[in-house]
Every structure is written in structure tokens, then in C-alpha cells.
């Protein structure tokens, strides 16, 4: 078959997208681009003299890692959760409480934060047995508000509205995690590991089952896929990744308060995933990272930024999802000709 007979939607000849075909070359270029970008991130502190810039990048990495974790629940399993920021908060509170009030060493607290996030995800995921789509979003909204109120008022454990201040300096295997450049590297490592995990996971049968369940759970079940287990796996993994990110927040920031984990935090993460293109890992990093970076750098424009986000959402809706992914990340995301990024969420 000549390439002109059947072209993929992007106009690329089908033949070139075959594994091991011409597409390989495009893939290796993408690998180089990613390698250069990662190297630049790891070397940046040597050249950055401004502490402010370092901190901005630290938050950028943390938010990008959060967004990548949310991709599993939102993008792969299609669960419209507005609670990712809450599970992040659960991880943060577990860590903060354990290391300040109970003297638990950080590595243990870190693991328990992941477990806490996963359990939170599973509790919320129970609702997917009954409700889907927009209704699941509403349930997760209630979950987010309930946990937020708990953080605010369960003084004995959460220290109420003031949260945790003066969290002891954390270290992992003798390496101190807080401090400006240590915090930078900690968050960068978190982003790297989260991305590697999600990327590796995205190639498994379980990840494909999640996509099948998201797009047609009827067909998925006729294929022998357990839809509920698949959704719960997505919620647990997403929750665990959020919990780990929460632990890292505690390790790198000096305080934790309920305000970090309100509805807006969860809403933003969901927004970044949608703008990034739902099931796109590079899209999630680009959206979560760039939007954080821009909001931090242009704080003096904060009154406009909300409006700009609104415009982005409208574009995302009208282009059926995936603004950034269609422009930039999709070229990187394409592997084995797979293109998952331009599909709007389906109820």
C-alpha cells in the first residue's frame, strides 16, 4: 500500500508509524530532546543564582509530578475526580503529623503517606460502583470538601487552621531534603520517578484495560476485563502517587496548612490534566509545569491569570481536549503510533 492511500489524521503516512519502521527515527529525536531537557533541569541550580527562581522551579516540578499522577485516574480510567489535591493533602498531613507529633522517621512517614493516599483513592473509588462521569465528579467534590473540613476542624490531629509550622528538617539516607537546592533536587527526583512509573505502567495490560473501561466499559467487560477492579487500581495508584507528592511537600516546605488542599487545588490539577490532553504524560508535565511556572513568574498579573485559564479550558473543550498535547507533546507522546490525547472525556 502506498502511503497516499491511507494517511493518519495527522497527515503522516501510516507506514512510517509502524514499530520498527521509519517512525523509530522520530522517536529517537524525541528521546534526545527529553534527555537534554532532563539534563538541563538537573544542572540548572549550578547556574541559577536567584533563590526565588529556584523555588519557583521547585513548585513547578512538584505540581508537574502531581499532574502526572492524576493522569492515571482521569486520563486512563476516565474517572473525573476532583480530589487529587485532597489525596495530596492526606499524604502531606500524614507525613507532617507523624514526623512532628510522633517522631516517626521520614522514610516510614513517606511510605505511609503513599498508603494513605491509596486508601483515600480507594474510598472515593467505591463511588464508581454506582456513579460515572459528571456524577462521579460531584461525589469527588463532596469528598474534597469533607476532607478539607476535617483538616480545618480536627484540631487534635491536624492542628486546625494554622496547620503544621516548624516541621523538623527531614533527611533521607543522611541526605538533607529541605533547603533551597536540596528541595529543588528532591522535587525533581520525585517528578522523574513519578513520570518513569506512569510511563512504564502505561505500557501494561492494566493500563490498556483502563483505556478500554474509560471509552467503553460494556466492550471491556465482554473482553473479560473487570471494570470495577480496573477503576479501583487507577484510583489507588493515582492516590498513592499523590500521597508521595504530599510527603515530599512536607519534606521541602516548612509548613502545611489546609489552604493548600482546598477545592481550588484539586480543581487546578484536574484542569492541568485536561489541558495536557487527558491520557498524555508529556502533556500533563507541560500543562502542570508550565501553568505553575507562568503563574509564579507573573504573580503581578494574577488577576488576569484566572481569566486566561478560562480561555484555555474553552479551547480544550472546543478542540475536544488536548491543547498543549496537540501543539507540542503529542509528537513525543506518540509511540507505536498510539495517539490517545485528542479525545474529550466521556461519561
Amino acid at each position: 500500500m502506498t502511503p497516499s492511500i491511507l494517511q493518519s489524521r495527522t497527515g503522516r503516512a501510516v507506514e512510517s508509524a509502524r514499530p520498527g519502521g521509519v517512525g523509530r527515527r522520530g522517536g529517537s529525536r524525541a528521546v534526545w530532546a527529553v534527555a537534554v531537557l532532563v539534563a538541563a533541569c538537573y544542572l540548572a541550580p549550578a547556574f541559577l543564582t536567584s533563590v526565588f527562581q529556584l523555588q519557583v522551579l521547585t513548585v513547578t516540578f512538584l505540581n508537574a509530578a502531581l499532574t502526572v499522577g492524576a493522569v492515571l485516574a482521569l486520563g486512563y480510567a476516565g474517572l473525573l475526580t476532583l480530589s487529587h489535591g485532597t489525596l495530596y493533602g492526606v499524604g502531606a498531613y500524614i507525613t507532617a503529623s507523624l514526623i512532628t507529633d510522633h517522631g516517626v522517621p521520614f522514610p516510614v512517614a513517606f511510605l505511609l503517606a503513599g498508603v494513605g493516599g491509596a486508601v483515600g483513592g480507594l474510598v472515593l473509588g467505591m463511588a464508581s460502583k454506582r456513579v460515572r462521569g459528571d456524577y462521579f465528579a460531584l461525589v469527588s467534590l463532596a469528598f474534597t470538601i469533607a476532607v478539607y473540613e476535617l483538616m480545618l476542624h480536627w484540631d487534635a490531629v491536624t492542628h486546625g487552621a494554622s496547620g503544621f509550622f516548624g516541621i523538623p528538617v527531614t533527611s533521607l539516607f543522611g541526605v538533607q531534603l529541605s533547603g533551597f537546592s536540596a528541595g529543588y533536587y528532591t522535587c525533581l527526583v520525585l517528578l522523574t520517578l513519578t513520570t518513569l512509573f506512569v510511563w512504564r505502567f502505561s505500557r501494561t495490560f492494566a493500563a490498556r484495560a483502563m483505556l478500554a473501561v474509560r471509552f467503553d466499559d460494556f466492550a471491556a467487560e465482554s473482553m473479560g476485563i473487570n471494570a470495577f477492579f480496573t477503576r479501583q487500581l487507577a484510583m489507588a495508584l493515582s492516590g498513592a502517587l499523590a500521597g508521595f507528592a504530599g510527603a515530599i511537600l512536607v519534606a521541602t516546605a516548612v509548613f502545611v496548612a489546609p489552604g493548600n488542599f482546598n477545592l481550588l487545588a484539586s480543581f487546578n490539577i484536574g484542569l492541568w490534566v485536561i489541558i495536557g490532553g487527558m491520557a498524555s504524560i508529556p502533556g500533563a508535565i507541560a500543562a502542570g509545569g508550565l501553568i505553575t511556572l507562568l503563574t509564579e513568574e507573573f504573580r503581578f498579573l494574577s488577576h488576569v491569570s484566572v481569566g486566561l485559564l478560562g480561555v484555555l479550558v474553552l479551547i480544550a473543550v472546543y478542540t475536544r481536549g488536548g491543547v498543549l498535547s496537540d501543539l507540542v507533546a503529542d509528537r513525543v507522546a506518540r509511540r507505536h503510533g498510539r495517539r490517545l490525547t485528542s479525545e474529550a472525556p466521556r461519561a
Partner: protein, 266 residues
């Protein structure tokens, strides 16, 4: 192989199936014909576990399928296709087939945690992944779609989607296969090719039973060892293709003019 005993199903007072008996032996191809609304698709949905029957029992290889979910029915070796295609459109052809192979590589033996080794590497996991992909490519080759393996399903023409759904259904070599109007919406030439594919690929296994629901009379009579005629949820005739084909009156009376004109078209 497959045995239906007095299957009944009502929808809000409307009788969709009225004590339908049916058997499909190993290696046998049985066709079901009948006009729209005669209960053909309801029967498929009941057998495959998507609808619970109001009465009667479905047995597969002597084992009751009553009360089992579609997932559980699939695990016992009964696969189906859908009248309206149900492929996962936004992902690639190869990935769709891999979804069809899900059971074999994950939870067939409760290997729910297959994603763990697959995510964290390990030579064994990589080997399994390579095997699965090779098998998927072989299946695609058999239905003539391997050159489109990396194409998004939504970019495929309808006829090729039908082929893909067929390949996905037989990927795990089910012992019983239900095809719900496999040639619906196809051009006569495409339909003819698909029938050939069914003979070559689907019915290739001597052990596999095949239940075929069709509108095209000619195709059913060509392909099937035995034909069952349904009307308003009741079985009104059953016999060899020759007997049914010879008895044009049966068709005129029970399938109606539609069936006769279908036969003329097909």
C-alpha cells in the same frame, strides 16, 4: 457445547423471548434468523451475560452460566461480537487486539498484579509483553489488518473495523463464539469477504461452536449447518439449511417479505 433451556425474557410486559431452546454442538455452526424485533439480539445478550433471563438456563459445556457477569462468562470461554461495533476507537488497532488478549496475560488465573512486574521491569515481563505483541500481530495478519497495526481505529473504514472486531473476539480462541449480525451494514462484496474470513479464521477450530445471527438469508443458508427461525420471541422452525432453504413458505410466513427480499438482495 452451548445449551439454552427454555430461555424467557420480558421487557415491561413485552415478550422478547418465550421459552427458546437451543443447542450448538462442538464445531457446529448454527444460524438464527428472524425479522427485526424477533428477539435475536436479546438472545445473544442473555447468553453472553449482559441481560439476566427471566426464566430458563444457559449452559456452556454442561456448566450453568446463570447469574454470571459478562466478564465471568467471557472467562469461561464464550466470546461475542456486537451488532453495533464496540471497538475502542481512540487507540490503535494493535492495542485493541491486545485488549482482546487481556485475559490471557493478566487475570485468567487471578493474576491481577501482572502490572507490577510489567511496570518495574524484569526480563520475564518484557518477554511476556513481546509474546503478546507478536501474537497480536499474527492475529492481525490473519484478518489482513497487520499493515494498519499502528493506525487509530477511528481512522479505519467500517469493513475493516468489522474484521478487527472479529479478530479481537477470536484472539483468545474461545470455545464458543456468538456473532451478532457480522455483515450488517457491509457492501455485498465486503460481506462476502467477511463470510470467507469467518470460515477461514473463526470456524477454523474443529472444536469451536459458532452461533450466528444474521439478516442476510443467503449467507446463513450458505454457512450454517443448522438454522433456527425466530419470530416474536418464539422458535417457529428449526432444521438443516437445506430444509429451511427448501421451505420458502417457512421464510415467507415467519420472516416475512423482508426475509425474502433480503434473500434476493444478498
Amino acid at each position: 457445547m452451548l445449551e439454552c433451556r427454555e430461555i424467557s425474557k420480558h421487557f415491561a410486559g413485552v415478550v422478547a423471548l418465550d421459552s427458546v431452546d437451543l443447542t450448538v454442538g462442538a464445531g457446529e455452526i448454527v444460524g438464527i434468523i428472524g425479522p427485526n424485533g424477533s428477539g435475536k439480539s436479546t438472545l445473544v445478550n442473555v447468553i453472553s451475560g449482559f441481560l439476566p433471563p427471566d426464566g430458563g438456563e444457559v449452559l456452556l459445556g454442561g456448566e450453568s452460566l446463570s447469574g454470571l457477569s459478562p466478564t465471568a462468562v467471557r472467562r469461561r470461554g464464550l466470546a461475542r461480537t456486537f451488532q453495533n461495533l464496540r471497538l475502542i476507537e481512540p487507540i490503535s488497532v494493535l492495542d485493541n487486539l491486545l485488549v482482546g488478549l487481556h485475559l490471557k496475560y493478566t487475570n485468567n488465573n487471578d493474576r491481577y498484579w501482572q502490572w507490577l512486574p510489567a511496570t518495574f521491569g524484569g526480563r520475564r515481563a518484557r518477554q511476556v509483553d513481546r509474546e503478546a505483541r507478536e501474537l497480536a500481530h499474527r492475529m492481525l495478519e490473519e484478518v489482513g489488518l497487520d499493515h494498519l497495526a499502528s493506525e487509530r481505529v477511528s481512522n479505519l473504514p467500517y469493513g475493516q473495523k468489522k474484521r478487527l472486531e472479529l479478530a479481537r473476539a477470536v484472539a483468545l480462541e474461545p470455545r464458543m463464539l456468538l456473532l451478532d449480525e457480522p455483515t450488517a451494514g457491509l457492501e455485498p462484496t465486503e460481506a462476502h469477504e467477511l463470510v470467507r474470513l469467518i470460515v477461514d479464521v473463526v470456524a477454523a477450530s474443529a472444536e469451536r461452536g459458532l452461533l450466528l445471527i444474521e439478516h442476510r438469508l443467503e449467507m446463513v443458508l450458505d454457512l450454517c449447518d443448522r438454522v433456527i427461525v425466530l419470530d416474536s420471541g418464539r422458535k417457529v422452525a428449526e432444521g438443516s439449511s437445506e430444509a429451511i432453504a427448501g421451505d420458502r413458505d417457512v421464510i415467507r410466513v415467519y420472516v416475512g417479505d423482508e426475509g425474502v427480499s433480503d434473500a434476493a438482495e444478498g
